[in-house]
Symmetry: C2
Subunit: 302 residues, 2 copies
């Protein structure tokens, strides 16, 4: 397998100023794989309960997403309920029901081992580390969240020392690195041994830092953002999917792959949940990729 | 005169986590003109009190800044005292002493009339409008702040309908346009008749919108920001100074001029007050301009 993601398949209930949806397909592995499959084969390690809809699994499988690593178990599927205020800046969680996630022990199909790329979506850093150890991919990335920074800092640090790259949002980068300056935070993360640091900045895009490079990708300019849910995982999925397709782990490739990730997440936030993925085509991705070139272009003669 | 700025000459007292300075040379016209003079001749319309130091005027004049429009009057010079928290995100004002500004009626030297470019730095929109009417420049830009949005909204709207462009920070753009979405805010400003809208985003750079174009300029990545005072006016000064030098008012020129503005403000925030301007050279500007090209560059093949 070229690319594997450890993450959640979930039922999301979301309210934003533009509407609400209940118990729709969501979860980090869902968004990640729906983005990544535009470029690469992708396998999912996750768990769902007996209430998970067969049609959701079919929806993913129809899009060439490999679900051999998805365990079906007794109990209820992970559920998240949240809302966004008018500024869409931040998800406010109303309810998290871990359900089958509570006792989740990732089962890893043989063909996922030694994959090229592995993405460890936000979860307990202990589970992320265990999965990394078992899969031994060529290249690995992880995400995390404030809860783990605050409650499992040591395990998270151990993980960050063992993966090749991180996707982290700006607030979490500041919190983990204990500095308000993002560039200083990026340097601190690199010092842990990380080779590629990607800091997500929401409507201000994302920055990338390695030992040698700094890259800033703006967000695609959107007048209407209906639902930001899944934007970060879609961005990671588009980026790593594009990397996996070409098999390159260089700074140059990460930059253009990040633009692919930005493009995909720009479509995702234009509709609720995963709705945009139902109609997203290769031409759409190419179209906004080309717009991105123009957005950052300026005459090189000073 | 190619370029004229209406703004303040001030004594600033600033505290940041990196130190403090008291009663140093500051003010919007100071920062703007020190940035602009790297590219263009620039004249200042302002007022100072009898306590203003001769050495400050000499400092500016030595840098080819024309001070014929600076009125010296009885009373004390405008003073601002403020501090920045650890995150450097926002200036917190401790004290504003308007002093000679209170009864300021701009006097406009004959040679400033019909200048090519005029920048109306943040002040009472009535005074900005009056100055615009008297000068009748080829191209005009203004800045503003939350106080005028809240207390003189109608006068500000009148001004925005009469200038060619605006430099506004993201919080003020959101507040004036009554929308959290910056792209929507930009569109609303364009609908007033503005031809060029520049929204400043601090450490996330700036965006530019016209009827036809969208451009995103990141901020230069800095690990240490000592004092953000004057960054916005320096950015406007670098941008409009570069435009004035070349006499172009096209979208293409504004983009590269914005990069020049970003470069200059990146130097300014690395030291307190106007200290960086004492040593800033053309080679420095060119160096970071070239770095900017790399920061946003990605392979154009999708």
């Amino acid at each position: 397998m070229k690319l594997v993601v450890l993450g959640t398949l979930a039922f999301d209930s979301i309210q934003t100023p533009f509407g609400r949806v209940e118990n729709v397909l969501g979860g980090s592995a869902t968004y990640f794989s729906l983005a990544a499959r535009n470029f690469s084969e992708v396998g999912v390690i996750s768990v769902v309960g007996s209430d998970f809809h067969e049609e959701h699994l079919k929806f993913l499988e129809k899009r060439s997403i490999d679900l051999k690593g998805v365990e079906k178990t007794k109990g209820k599927t992970f559920r998240w309920q949240g809302y966004y205020e008018y500024d869409m800046d931040q998800a406010h969680t109303l309810k998290t029901e871990l359900n089958v996630l509570e006792s989740f022990k990732p089962k890893i199909p043989r063909e996922y081992r030694k994959c090229d790329y592995l993405f460890l979506a936000n979860t307990d850093p202990g589970i992320q580390m265990e999965t990394l150890d078992k899969i031994k991919p060529k290249y690995s990335f992880c995400d995390t969240m404030n809860f783990w920074i605050e409650h499992k800092r040591e395990e998270l640090t151990e993980l960050l020392k063992n993966v090749d790259g991180v996707f982290i949002n700006e607030g979490e980068a500041r919190e983990y690195c204990k500095t308000p300056n993002l560039i200083a935070a990026g340097r601190k993360l690199l010092k842990l041994g990380l080779k590629k640091v990607v800091i997500k900045k929401g409507e201000s895009g994302a920055i990338f830092m390695s030992d040698k490079e700094f890259f800033a990708a703006p967000a695609y300019p959107l007048e209407v953002v209906k639902d930001p849910t899944g934007a970060g995982d879609s961005f990671a999925g588009g980026t790593i999917g594009h990397l996996a397709k070409h098999g390159k782990f260089t700074d140059e490739w990460i930059k253009k792959s990040m633009v692919c990730g930005s493009v995909i997440s720009s479509y995702v936030v234009e509709d609720f949940g995963i709705e945009s993925y139902r109609k997203l085509k290769h031409e759409d991705i190419e179209k906004r990729y080309n717009t991105f070139k123009k957005i950052v272009a300026f005459d090189h003669k000073y």
